[in-house]
Every structure is written in structure tokens, then in C-alpha cells.
């Protein structure tokens, strides 16, 4: 070969390579730019080209919402409410009935004396409920705000032309939001929210005798509730905690895992024999094989989502429906994967068994099963792990499991600490299933 031809050949080679190494990223980048425009992450007017994309379609980043969300995930609020018609005062955690302080008992930052109630929000913020549906709020660095209901309207001492942005004022309502808490005044009620960090009442609600006792107290201290042993009673009050419903959450979590387990293994059991009929080298009849392949495609193509809806008519809401939806889809996936694995079996081993005079069944048992088992098993275990995650979503549709609790809590958007709790539980369970399937894989496939 002459130098010149060798050079030319190498130049051509690198020309091609250069084209490829620029071309591929360029194609991908172009696509991503297209998507950015399609999703309105980028808009023409960012580049000075006028466009009529409405504001609502633009991507926005609402920091305030994000902050509220994060704050709500790790804190709780206690409501102090006065009914402006009856004058009754109530204190309740998260404003819920089951978080209400028993009559006559108030937290130490609330001082109720007759018709006057002094609420110390901390850092010098003090709210005082006065008789006659009036109140004052001392805001350090601003002054004392007064408010009162007169007839149908709210009257305050805030200058109308200079309302700070942390006060939201109308003739029927005054709302003040500070770092220490929130206050709202309407004709019907006066309400103060005081924020505290933590997940309150996670262990016991206020009506439980164990509320406020530490672990040490309960385990080794004196008997708290005369009717019950400490551990038994504390467990019962914790487990049946009406605010957090640990027992229901545990059941929901269990239902989710159950759906994944039944669906995955059920599908594997159904798919295995059928896969033999769909594998080129085992199927006696081509039409059968073709038909089965299409059935698998159908089962998989319909997707668990749609199966869930279709099956909920026949089986109603609950974990069985979810399990069946997973079973249907995965029968499709497994059917395809198993039959592919069967098509890739090593004929040598089968020949070896056949040559000894083994019957057909023995041939499958010793020639085929041992070599496909590890492949199938590892696929099944991999699906088990990912189905645990899918089961949360399926549960959210069919009405079962932790997925329903989670999505409902998210959609109503107020119980973010519960959302956090569920997310943590789901993540833990999925990670456990991941390790479990990894452990089983090593144990069963690599052999002890």
C-alpha cells in the first residue's frame, strides 16, 4: 500500500467518524430543543421572536408553593379558633377533630381567661382575642394591629393606603401571615395558626394516656393506664392512632406488596407452559405459535393501566383486581421473554439427554428446565421489584394499597407530612424488595 492511499483511506475513515460523532449528538440535541419548544420550556419570545403563547402554558417555577410544601412536610400547625357567634374557643392540632385538645385543656402558649385569650406565637408575636369579636396582634417592628367585626364588616387600624404585603385585607376578611404564624378574622370565626416543627401526634393522639410519655417511661416506668399494661396499651394506642392510622397504612403497604407478588408469580406460572407452545423449537404448530405471540403482544400492549380499568368492572376495587391487572400484563411480557429464552436454549444439552433414551418429559426436565431456570428466575425477580413500584400506581387507580392513600393525600394537598410518611415507606419497601430479589437471585442462581 502506498502512503497516499493509506492517508486517503484514513482520512475517509475519520471523515466518517467525525460525521458520526457530531451527527448523533446533533440529532439528539435538535430533538431536545424541539421538545423544549413543544413543552414551552423555551418560547420564541425568549429569542426576541413574538409569539402568542398564553402565560398559563409557560413553564413557571413557583418557589412559594415549593417552600410551603417543604415546610408542611416537616411541620404541623395548631389551630386556635374562636367561633364569633357563640364565643366558644377550641384548640386543635391541624384543626382536626381527632387532634382537638380535650375541653378546658389548652397548650401552655395559650392563656384563656374568660372572654380574653392571649396567644403567644413566640418571638414577641402576641395575639389577644378580646371580647366583642375584637383582637389585637402585636407584631414586633410593625406595631399592634387591631381588628374587629362590626356588623357584617371587618374594621381594622391598618392604614388603607399602606397595607403591607403580608396582610390580606378585604371588607369581610383580614388575614395576616408572619413567620411565626397566621391569623384570620371573618364574621364567623377568628383563627390563629401556630407552626411547630415535627410530625405531631405520630405516636399517640392527645386522648391517649401515653401521649407525652417517652419510650423509657413506657417500657420501664410506672403503669400509666390502670386498665392496661404499658406496652400492650401503648402499642394499641400507637397502632390504632386515629390521626396517622398506622394499622391501615401497614395493611395498605401489605396490599401493595401482595399485588406485586401475586401478579408477578401468577404471571410466571401462567406464562411458563404457554411459552413452550410459543417457542419456535418446541411448538408443534406454527399457527399456534403465531397466535400465542399475538396474544402476548396484546396482553402487554393493553398495559396494566387499562387492564385495571377493564377488570374493575368484574372484580370491583381491591388488591385482587390490581394483582390480576399485573398478572395479565406480565403474562404477556413473560410469555414473550420466556419463549425467547426457550428459543435460545443450547441444543447440545438436550441432545445429550435425548441420546440416553429419555422420554419427552424427561427431555424438558433435564435438558431444558435447568438451563432456562436461571434466566427465567432472574427475569421474574427483576419484575417483582419493579412491580412493587407499579403496584402503588395501580393501587391509586383501582382503590387499594398505599398508592391510593398516597395519591389522595397528594391531591387534597393538605397532609404533606402524611405524603412524606407514605413516600418514605414506599421507598423503604421498594428498596427492601430490591435487596430481597437480589438476594434470591444470588442464592438461587449462582447457587448457595
Amino acid at each position: 500500500m502506498t502512503d497516499a492511499t493509506a492517508y486517503a483511506q484514513a482520512d475517509r475513515l475519520f471523515g466518517r467518524k467525525k460525521l458520526f460523532s457530531w451527527g448523533l449528538p446533533a440529532v439528539v440535541l435538535t430533538y431536545l430543543v424541539y421538545v423544549a419548544f413543544a413543552f414551552h420550556i423555551l418560547t420564541p419570545d425568549m429569542f426576541g421572536i413574538p409569539s402568542n403563547i398564553p402565560d398559563r402554558d409557560r413553564l413557571k417555577f413557583d418557589v412559594q408553593n415549593g417552600r410551603t410544601l417543604v415546610a408542611d412536610m416537616v411541620s404541623y400547625k395548631t389551630h386556635v379558633t374562636r367561633d364569633n357567634r357563640s364565643g366558644e374557643l377550641g384548640v386543635a392540632i391541624e384543626g382536626e377533630r381527632k387532634g382537638a385538645y380535650p375541653d378546658g385543656i389548652v397548650p401552655d402558649w395559650v392563656d384563656a381567661q374568660g372572654e380574653t385569650t392571649v396567644i403567644d406565637l413566640g418571638a414577641g408575636h402576641i395575639v389577644t382575642f378580646l371580647p366583642g369579636n375584637a383582637l389585637t396582634y402585636e407584631v414586633p417592628g410593625y406595631g399592634t394591629i387591631r381588628g374587629q367585626i362590626e356588623g357584617r364588616t371587618v374594621v381594622t387600624n391598618i392604614p388603607e393606603d399602606d397595607v403591607p404585603d403580608w396582610i390580606n385585607l378585604s371588607s369581610t376578611r383580614m388575614a395576616i401571615t408572619t413567620d411565626e404564624g397566621r391569623l384570620s378574622l371573618t364574621r364567623n370565626k377568628t383563627e390563629v395558626f401556630n407552626y411547630f416543627p415535627g410530625w405531631e401526634l405520630f405516636w399517640f393522639t392527645l386522648d391517649s394516656p401515653y401521649s407525652g410519655h417517652g419510650v423509657f417511661d413506657i417500657l420501664f416506668g410506672d403503669q400509666i393506664d390502670p386498665a392496661r399494661g404499658n406496652i400492650e396499651g401503648a402499642w394499641h394506642d400507637f397502632w390504632e392512632n386515629p390521626m396517622w392510622r398506622h394499622v391501615d397504612v401497614a395493611w395498605a403497604l401489605f396490599e401493595t406488596v401482595l399485588m406485586a407478588f401475586l401478579g408477578t408469580f401468577g404471571a410466571a406460572i401462567v406464562a411458563l407452559p404457554v411459552a413452550f407452545l410459543a417457542a419456535k423449537n418446541f411448538s408443534p404448530l406454527m399457527p399456534v405459535r403465531f397466535a400465542l405471540r399475538r396474544v402476548f403482544d396484546f396482553l402487554r400492549g393493553v398495559d396494566a393501566l387499562i387492564w385495571t380499568i377493564l377488570l374493575s368492572r368484574a372484580f370491583g376495587p381491591g388488591p385482587m383486581t390490581g394483582a390480576l391487572a399485573i398478572l395479565f400484563t406480565d403474562t404477556g411480557s413473560f410469555g414473550k421473554m420466556f419463549s425467547e429464552a426457550l428459543e435460545n436454549v443450547d441444543q447440545k444439552q438436550i441432545d445429550g439427554v435425548v441420546s440416553t433414551g429419555a422420554s419427552t418429559v424427561q427431555r424438558y426436565r433435564f435438558g431444558v428446565i435447568p438451563q432456562v431456570t436461571p434466566v427465567l428466575l432472574s427475569q421474574v425477580l427483576y419484575f417483582l421489584e419493579s412491580n412493587t413500584r407499579s403496584a402503588t400506581i395501580i393501587g391509586a387507580i383501582t382503590g387499594g394499597g398505599i398508592g391510593l392513600l398516597l395519591t389522595q393525600a397528594m391531591i387534597t394537598q393538605k397532609d404533606w407530612e402524611e405524603v412524606t410518611y407514605y413516600i418514605i415507606l414506599i421507598v423503604i419497601v421498594v428498596m427492601l424488595m430490591d435487596s430481597l430479589s437480589g438476594w434470591l437471585r444470588r442464592k438461587l442462581i449462582k447457587g448457595e
Binding site: 444439552q349 440416553t356 433414551g357 431456570t373
Partner: protein, 272 residues
């Protein structure tokens, strides 16, 4: 005791084995040589009934092998053990189980389904492994053994069948010279000690010469040589392999000639 008449196998229009005729009157060690595609494997597979013949007949001790069906055919397969170039063991199963597969024909399908082999079979299997010199690997998975050891497991499986004939399809082609020697010697010993007939496809002349009582040479599906090892001259070999004058036996030799002067692997030195 073995009579092959007019045996033919066609794949489509191509005859892999073309009217083969020969007979054998006593258990012996029979070598079949021929280049790749000559039809050696096809013949063995027909004899073991893993492949159906297109025409002709094959009779063994009066049994018309090619017409056997179902149960009878499987019984014949049990009588006629097969050893493969690639060992064809079940790699993920332990060595003893692999050997026990030799009894599948005798045991009920149901019992074997659950890997329930009788204890005396297990002991017998281990005895055979001992005879093969690999009893200490009994509990290992087959895939954990070296090639030579695996081939000995395959022979053990064959012996477990207690067969009348052992068919060996290039049993040493994937082994190094040392292992090849061990395996061939084992086969010879089985033939001599147990009096079983052994038919081995071989791809090297010197092996055939050294271990066989009779050699059949095939080319393009036909028998082109049938005689004693002594009659197998280089000229005949050129005929069988269709080679020209540059053909030298050394190029395919795998024999270990002398401990002091180790094997000359011409190929290793020649490739650049």
C-alpha cells in the same frame, strides 16, 4: 452383530450419508475418519436414532434399529450410548446427576421428575466416577470441571446406561493433547475390560491408528476406506481428506510422543 445396508440420509437435495454399507461381527473399537462434512456425525446420530434415516437399514443383534418407535426406540438409545465433542452435559447440574441421566430410560418419568434416583444408582454412579478418576468432583457442577474432566463425566454417563455400543462423536476434538490421551485411553479400556463395542468419529489419523481395531474412512457421505489401521497409509489418507501432496500428518497430530520432547504444535508456531 452390526449390519449397515444402503444407509442414506438426505438433507434436502444434499446427501449427508450416501448408501453406506458395512458390517461388524464382534465387539470392536471402530474408528470413522473423514473431513468436516463427510457425514460422520450424521451416521452416528442415525444409529442412535436422534436423526431419522432417509433410506436403508441398520440391524444390531437382529434388532432392526431404524424402525423402532416410542418406548422401543428409547430402549435402543439406552443400549447405544453417545458421547459428544462438546460433552453435552447439563452444566448447571452436579456431576453425579449428570451421570444419573444415563438411567433415565430405566426409571419412571414421574420419579425422575423430582430428581428421585434410587440410592444404589447413586452409588453405582460414584463407582463409575471413581473408575474414571474423578470421584472427588462428584458434588461439583459439571460446568466447574475442565474439558477433559467433563468428557470423562460424559463417558461415565454413557457407562451408566450399561450400553452395548458406545458412539463417540469426535470425543477429543475440544480437548488438549493431554486430556485427549486420557479420554481415548479410557474409551479403549472400556472396550477391552467390558467388551463393549465403541464407534468413534475421529478427526486425526494417528489417534485412529493407535486406538482402533478397524477404521472406516468417509468422504462426501460415502465409505472410501475400510480396513485395519495398518492399511491406513498416507496415500489413503490423502484420498480420504482430498488433500494434495503438501499434506502432512503432523499438521493434525495431537499425540504426545515423548515426555522428554514435548509436542510440536506446528500450528502455534506458524501463525503470525
Amino acid at each position: 452383530m452390526l449390519v449397515v445396508e444402503n444407509l442414506t440420509k438426505r438433507f434436502g437435495r444434499n446427501a449427508a450419508v450416501d448408501s453406506m454399507n458395512f458390517s461388524v461381527d464382534r465387539p470392536m473399537m471402530l474408528g470413522i475418519i473423514g473431513r468436516s462434512g463427510a457425514g460422520k456425525s450424521t451416521f452416528l446420530r442415525m444409529m442412535n436414532r436422534m436423526t431419522d434415516a432417509t433410506q436403508g437399514s441398520l440391524t444390531f443383534e437382529g434388532r432392526d434399529v431404524l424402525t423402532l418407535r416410542g418406548r422401543e426406540r428409547r430402549n435402543w438409545q439406552a443400549d447405544c450410548a453417545m458421547i459428544f465433542q462438546q460433552f453435552n452435559l447439563v452444566p448447571r447440574m452436579d456431576v453425579v446427576s449428570n451421570v444419573l441421566h444415563g438411567t433415565l430410560n430405566r426409571r419412571s418419568t414421574f420419579a425422575t421428575m423430582f430428581n428421585l434416583f434410587p440410592r444404589e444408582d447413586i452409588h453405582h454412579a460414584i463407582d463409575i466416577l471413581e473408575r474414571m478418576g474423578i470421584a472427588e468432583h462428584a458434588a461439583k457442577r459439571a460446568e466447574a470441571l475442565s474439558g477433559g474432566q467433563q468428557q470423562r463425566v460424559a463417558i461415565a454417563r454413557a457407562l451408566m446406561q450399561d450400553p452395548k455400543v458406545i458412539l463417540a462423536d469426535e470425543p477429543i476434538a475440544s480437548l488438549d493433547p493431554m486430556n485427549a490421551q486420557i479420554v481415548m485411553e479410557t474409551l479403549r479400556r472400556i472396550h477391552e475390560e467390558d467388551g463393549r463395542m465403541v464407534i468413534a468419529n475421529l478427526h486425526t489419523l494417528d489417534t485412529a491408528r493407535r486406538y482402533c481395531d478397524r477404521v472406516i474412512g468417509m468422504r462426501d457421505g460415502r465409505i472410501v476406506f475400510d480396513g485395519t489401521p495398518a492399511q491406513l497409509t498416507t496415500g489413503v489418507a490423502r484420498d480420504i481428506y482430498g488433500a494434495d501432496d503438501s499434506f502432512s500428518e503432523d499438521a493434525t497430530s495431537t499425540e504426545i510422543r515423548d515426555a522428554a520432547r514435548p509436542a510440536l504444535t506446528a500450528r502455534a508456531a506458524a501463525t503470525a
